[in-house]
Symmetry: C2
Subunit: 562 residues, 2 copies
């Protein structure tokens, strides 16, 4: 959050002035402060009224900001009149003298897009004399450049590219370190561009259509625009000229274009971006802002300042919410999650009244489910790019393989032989879940598989903690001591399993924090999470229902045979 300051007018309609600047700062990830030199009552149709802020109050605002906020770059826009311009220059000079220079972008705003005068004519000299010498860059448009040059008796007419280059060089002699002469209103031809090239002149086509990109040029059908080019001309302190070429846009969404460009430049310079690259990036940001604008208002509408950001779907991890992804997933599947972790099977197990046949059916199917689960973790290892995640995934595989023999021993206690266990055929609910894990792993990236694997890991952890917590209440419905399924409850509420739960949470959250998902990816994770949660519930349903229906089939067999 690099702090950046704008010193400019306020545009009530929000498209230009400090409003455009603050929006631009925000989407560039900078922190915006603003000193207001004048208020306007304004909209897309024009400027209805202007109210100048007294120079002393401009100074007070500047001192409040500069004394406290560690501003890394400053832009000036509409300064209104001579007194306010003097006030701004005086405070800036004092600040630079005492605390050192920081990048200053001066947008010498004289006239609004709609044609309204925004600077008293007698202030032009003050800007040149007092502000230009402090400026790293000035950003006049054609009209402003002509006005500034005329003021100092330079040839001022700008009619073609060579005029622009000459004008940029002359403007630099007025004091600023560099000049960016904006040419949005002048069309130049490819022939003009070709004639210009010399040792101290560089041409940058931001759209990269000059070299090794025939496929983009031809398939994008750009050739039809080839004669509608506009340029910005940058003259740097060594008198070097850089010409930034782009396609001219036909648009009425241009209210605040100059404000936006100089604000974006201030953000780039605040971060230390070299000047030429800063201009390329700021011009591209502004260009796309015009081209993607949605009409607002009846006249010259504002740019789209938001094209360079997307919403962040999973909030950042914080102390009070260390598990934002998991919270979001639980919230999005709240009902089915509850049906899973508080399933009838779990409740009966906690009461100790679950029929043995249901538990045995569950545990035999679980033995085979764990094979899929181990294979899915092995697949996760195969999809990982670094030793740490490979090792973490393979540790889980190893644990499951070890547990399988314990599982067998456990089954033996319940009278299930090794043969019976191995030869148990898969219930559809188990195959659905196991194969879904493998399929998810094959289809997507490793994070998608991590999400799929989490529903089992976290759900059994939740069940273990829930039963244990409920058991501790007075007159609890959970029977802990003496419960035939005590070992199962102890296993999933115990330290070893809960340590795995915590590690699983960390993996999910650290990966989501390191690579925030887009809307589409997040929806994909929610879908996978919910499907796995449903498949878990289906697994419990199977454990409850299949022995029942087997019994009813046996009963009807007995009935029919008798």
């Amino acid at each position: 959050m690099t702090p950046v300051l704008t010193i400019a007018g306020s545009d009530s309609s929000g498209g230009a002035g400090i409003q455009a600047d603050l929006k631009t700062f925000t989407v560039h990830g900078c922190y915006g402060a603003s000193v207001i030199t004048a208020l306007t009552a304004q909209n897309t149709a024009g400027v209805q009224a202007v109210y100048g802020v007294p120079p002393d109050f401009v100074k007070q605002q500047m001192n409040s900001v500069l004394d406290d906020i560690g501003v890394k770059a400053i832009k000036t826009g509409m300064l209104f009149d001579t007194e306010n311009t003097k006030a701004v220059a005086q405070i800036l000079k004092g600040h630079f003298d005492t605390k050192g220079h920081i990048p200053l972008v001066c947008d010498p705003v004289c006239v609004s897009t709609s044609g309204h005068a925004l600077l008293h004519p007698d202030a032009v000299d003050t800007i040149i004399d007092e502000l230009f010498p402090l400026s790293d860059l000035i950003t006049p448009n054609k009209a402003e450049a002509e006005l500034l040059l005329k003021q100092r008796d330079f040839p001022s007419r700008i009619a073609n590219l060579q005029d622009m280059i000459n004008a940029a060089r002359r403007l630099r002699t007025l004091g600023p370190q560099a000049v960016l002469l904006k040419g949005g209103h002048c069309v130049v031809s490819l022939r003009e561009l070709a004639n210009i090239s010399s040792d101290d002149t560089q041409v940058i086509r931001d759209d990269l259509l000059d070299e090794n990109s025939n496929i983009l040029r031809i398939h994008g059908r750009k050739e039809q625009h080839v004669d509608s080019l506009v340029v910005d001309v940058l003259c740097t302190s060594d008198n070097h000229i850089t010409i930034f070429v782009r396609t001219k846009l036909q648009s009425t969404s241009t209210h605040g274009t100059g404000c936006t460009l100089s604000a974006a430049l201030a953000c780039q310079l605040a971060r230390g971006t070299p000047l030429s690259e800063a201009v390329r990036l700021a011009a591209a940001y502004t260009h796309i802002g015009i081209e993607t604008a949605i009409p607002i208002g009846s006249g010259f509408g504002p740019l789209n300042h938001n094209h360079s950001i997307t919403p962040r779907l999973v909030p950042p991890r914080t102390k009070t919410n260390p598990y934002p992804l998991t919270s979001s997933l639980l919230r999005s599947s709240r009902m089915i999650w509850k049906e899973y972790v508080q399933h009838e099977f779990v409740v009966l197990l906690g009461k100790g009244t679950l029929p043995k046949e249901n538990f045995l059916h569950f545990i035999k199917q679980d033995y085979h489910y764990l094979k899929y689960y181990a294979r899915a973790y092995a697949l996760l290892a195969a999809k990982s790019h670094a030793y740490a995640p490979i090792s973490a995934a393979i540790d889980v595989v190893f644990s499951i393989v070890q547990e399988s023999s314990m599982h067998m021993g456990y089954c033996a206690e319940w009278g299930i032989t090794e043969d019976e266990l191995i030869n148990t055929s898969e219930s559809p609910a188990l195959t659905a879940y196991g194969a879904f894990l493998i399929d998810t792993g094959m289809q997507g990236d490793s994070m998608k598989l991590v999400v799929a694997l989490a529903a089992c890991l976290l759900g059994y952890g939740e069940i273990g903690l829930w039963l244990k917590e409920e058991a501790q209440a007075p007159d609890s419905w959970v029977q802990w001591e003496g419960n035939p399924y005590l070992k199962w409850m102890e296993d999933y509420s115990g330290d070893i399993y809960q340590k795995a739960v915590k590690a699983g949470l960390e993996t999910l959250e650290s990966r989501a924090a390191a690579d925030a998902p887009s809307l589409v990816r997040f929806a994909d994770w929610q879908d996978v999470w919910e499907r796995c949660t449903r498949l878990e519930k289906g697994f419990w349903d199977m454990a409850i229902d299949e022995p029942r229906s087997l019994n009813s089939r046996l009963l009807s067999y007995v009935a029919s045979s008798s």
Copy 2:
């Protein structure tokens, strides 16, 4: 870009006032307009000066905005004095009367976080009498609620949760549709919360730690905060109470908290979010803004307004830049891309001077490469979720299989038998590239594979177009007619192949537009693209170098045997 209007004071330091509002609007994807009622010279240490804007100019700003911008919600903040409050209420009433009501959030700002009075005391009655009846929601904090209640001779002391509920209900009788009483300064206990529940009261814990989330509570070690809860109390038009509970934060980054909350509420209401959900979302946004703030200034610093957005790495598709992803990929690997598409092999081929042995070596290896390429597209089909991409991928597989027999016929013309072609052993450069495609497909999601497959598809398209364009120049270095490799050049510059190139561009771009990549994913795409580009260059290197070294080995064998 839903337009939202704030009517409030300006905070030069950028943390509160219209500045906080505009930042909040922007990151919520809304378009912000702003009417300024007063200027402050202010920073994180306090308010140094206040300058009231004349009521007529407040009216002018409001008219400019409301006459032109289709505002969908309005918030009011600091209104400064009685006259400005009257001016705001008058224009709003007139606007609502003629154009219909839109959601109005009134933040009855009286005192700044730093303790500075921001409203003339005699304006309190005006706010109650003229603004509250127009308001859908008012958002006082404890101090403001006490002031408002006292003004109307209600019991005003707020010391606990029950006081807050009573106060919210009493404030609603003053005129607004709903009241959100902010309790950021009052700690409440779990016991108080438990005692409150009744039929017309609902408790919402935003962190979801109340139900089926023991894993988050216990592993997040939240129990240590369990007694530091704060609540906001919402009283709606049916007198229903909703209590929003969250963990109290210890932070000095609270400058502009109230402005931010009411601005976020205005955004939610502008979009039609139901009130209770709007409060939950706006409170969560504000809470995270405080918790993730980075210190700025020496006193009460601003919130982090940017936590809910991330940068968009690939620009939106526009008319002047229809292929932004491909442009970015070409830009990021500009040098190696050039070495690939303008490789010595390509240049010699275009001149017609490429030795036959190099071409034959290339074409034999290419036959085997295309098997990997077909398998990679089959894998892409297997990783796709909808019939359209499955069909598109399988079409490519089918084309390659068909081409393989043409390839064989083509080789026959150059004297290569079917046996020789099939029994050619793979060069390492080919195996590296082919196996990299399969590995990339196994590791990542389908888009990563699409990017990997594009380097070959687009590169050969670029080469075809380049040679064809160069051939058309006068005295071209490219020999077109009579070139022994004419058919190869015609194939890759021809309509059938270029149609595939265009389709490939569309797939890349439409997928990137539909699911904008994060920084990490984009870096991953760049990496895959660059590696494939290098592997393509390696393939040409192989075609140039391996016959040469074979020749030199043969020569040295001849030399040593003679």
